[in-house]
Symmetry: C2
Subunit: 409 residues, 2 copies
């Protein structure tokens, strides 16, 4: 057990500032931030200048520092910092989902090789303790699926559209003004941010280290009034939904895409910047977690929790990755999708295997996941709006009024 | 780290049997049940008789056994077993909320004195990992409140009444037939079971070891058609709600009672045997957890998770109990309640401080918590139906459409 943590902090934006505030007020946790590395020399700082440095080595080479907290934007620079910190025997807490998702295998090896902790609860679904839960709670269960709404920014936009009749552009601007959207909104609305989180969750849920580039992500950036009307007419909302689920005993599949959600489903009620996670498992049955996914404070609270865990020498064990029976990732899965197109050329990007409904400017039918994944980049840069009908995603049906089940006697 | 757990199991009802099944199927967890102590000699068992014993000392004196799992009904006998196990250096996992709630201080001392773990996630809200979450996640946060629906049995009854128009007696019988109700239904419908869980949760949330007898519990056993009609007419449902909340910097209050819940509140959607827990904290803001609270499998999954944690030497740290700034429990709190009475004599059991509404056979007004607590036994044995109007319980208003908050910049 580490008696006192001496923290070197990278980044001093809203999460970093919130964290500093909390640590100075908190009597329970034995940790001090002793150095803060920032990039912007011109910004005035509310704290004494001696706390700050512009040279990362002032932290990385400081033997007094035993924990690095990484809260910067640049995922590549973040990886360099984190790798250097772990190599020199310092534990790390990070909120950087892109960095973790892109380098997870190597990061797990580094933890093992240098006997340090790398914790990243804040990288996935903000204040919902899903990583810790998957690691410790569902350790040995038959986990059927982990799914939900993992990006607060795009969900905020969708809430404003469906609940308050705002148009997409106005809703996006509001999200940016409120600080819910990344500087490049496509990271949020295109489903990339959600996909990074899904990657991390899949590793802890199923022991599979899948590269984000190998996971389908489709977004809401082409959402049109026609699509909103279609959803409404059918009594549904559109949510950007992430799914990691077992297909059978030895295979799982995984994807991020807009999905039609019905009023009897819990995700229907996940609004604004909230995230919602549904876990389905053999013994605990269905679980639903709801919490804020965006904002300095919710993220900061997850970072704080990880810092606290480091004082107890907590490490992710990646149990499922070390179990004998390995699961495989299958892309040979049939999805039912609604596709709105403005040209035949673009419509032909979607290799439908069967069509069940056609209307003015849209088609609904089945398509194989791998065939969408092969063209992920093209689909993202097209004007197509592609939405999963939710038909083949059973776990979303966490119903408000569950049909009665027989007791477990 | 314990390399292999040798488990002595007390009780072989539906949770115990479910646990045995899971452990034999599970490859991930290194634990074997090597002895099962049961009471009923006449019951035929599906497993070899050599596994069973009728003498607790066959487990308690067995030095090979390093973990005792306690799943019996009798809270007093359970305490004797658990105390003996811990005293002889064995860690313990239990699901017995009454036993834990009634002896928590002593159990914490025993853990410390004999350097063993006592884990009891299954004692609170079934498959919702609330204890672990309060211990590890909100370690250092300003926790405003923990509240929710903690008893699946009474909630099942209320769901059937409000959603399917069953009368109380029919709904109760269905709950018993499905195995959701304890053999003595008053434990569930009177709010005792919920109160035990609330006691445990308050210890982990606030570091206060409050005896259950010092906490108000009112139940739904006197719920009448008039009360159901009143709720419906006002667009509400009645739920049996538990609250542990901060009043200010140095005081908390705590109670279990029926409460009117409105459609914009999340607890409105917690149905049947599901439990729902709302956590409000300074930095993570509002969190909501939903999961099955009753049944062999959900409880078994929580027990399994605790067994897994023991292999990693996990112990509850009761952080908040060891922090300098101690909170106090205040009963000097004004509640607004609806009271249905069938005699003036019984109505006078409730010392209203003010009345806001009177009708045929009911009154609504304010009353001090301590004045209800002082008469808790009388109130429970009367025919009064007392229901909190929800007015002074802000944390329940986790709204489906949250009003916009300013970003944390």
């Amino acid at each position: 057990m580490i008696s006192k943590l001496k923290i070197g902090l990278f980044g001093f934006g809203c999460v970093g500032q919130g964290l500093y505030d909390v640590l100075s007020k908190s009597s329970g946790i034995k940790a001090d931030i002793i150095k803060i590395c920032v990039k912007d020399r011109s910004k005035s700082r509310k704290l004494p200048m001696e706390l700050f440095t512009y040279d990362k080595n002032d932290i990385l080479n400081n033997s007094e520092i035993n924990l690095v907290v990484e809260l910067i934007d640049d995922a590549d620079e973040a990886f360099n910092i984190v790798k250097a910190a772990m190599t020199s025997g310092k534990s790390v807490v990070t909120a950087n989902k892109k960095m973790v998702a892109n380098h997870l295998s190597e990061l797990v090896e580094l933890q093992s090789k240098h006997n340090v902790s790398l914790l990243y609860e804040a990288s996935s679904c903000g204040s919902i303790p899903i990583i810790r839960t998957l690691e410790e709670y569902y350790d040995n269960e038959l986990l059927y699926s982990v799914s939900g709404i993992f990006n607060g920014s795009s969900n905020y936009i969708l809430s404003k559209i469906f609940n308050e009749n705002l148009d997409y552009a106005t809703a996006l601007k509001q999200a940016q003004d409120l600080g819910f959207a990344e500087s490049n909104p496509l990271l949020d609305v295109g489903g990339f941010d959600a996909k990074f989180k899904l990657t991390i969750i899949a590793a802890h849920a199923y022991g599979l280290f899948i590269h984000p580039d190998d996971i389908l992500n489709l977004g809401i950036q082409n959402l049109s009034l026609d699509d909103i009307d279609y959803a409404r007419k059918n009594g549904k909302k559109i949510k950007l939904v992430n799914v990691a689920r077992k297909l059978n005993d030895h295979e799982i599949t995984i994807h991020t895409m807009p999905t039609f959600v019905a009023p009897h489903q819990y995700l229907y009620f996940v609004e604004n910047e909230y995230n919602g996670v549904i876990v389905e498992a053999a013994f605990s049955d269905k679980q639903f977690y709801l919490g804020k996914g965006a904002g300095g404070h919710p993220t900061g609270s997850a970072v704080l929790s990880d810092i606290s865990a480091v004082t107890y020498d907590y490490k992710y064990a990646y149990h499922k990755a070390s179990q004998d029976k390995k699961l495989k990732y299958s892309k040979n899965v049939l999805l039912e999708v609604y596709v709105r197109y403005s040209s035949d050329e673009e419509r032909n990007l979607v290799p439908f295997e069967s069509i069940s409904e056609e209307g003015k400017g849209y088609s609904i039918g089945t398509v194989r996941l791998e065939n969408l994944l092969n063209k992920n980049a093209e689909l993202l840069s097209s004007k197509l709006f592609i939405c999963n009908t939710g038909k083949n995603i059973p776990m979303l049906a966490l119903q408000v009024n569950e049909p009665e089940k027989a007791a477990a006697h």
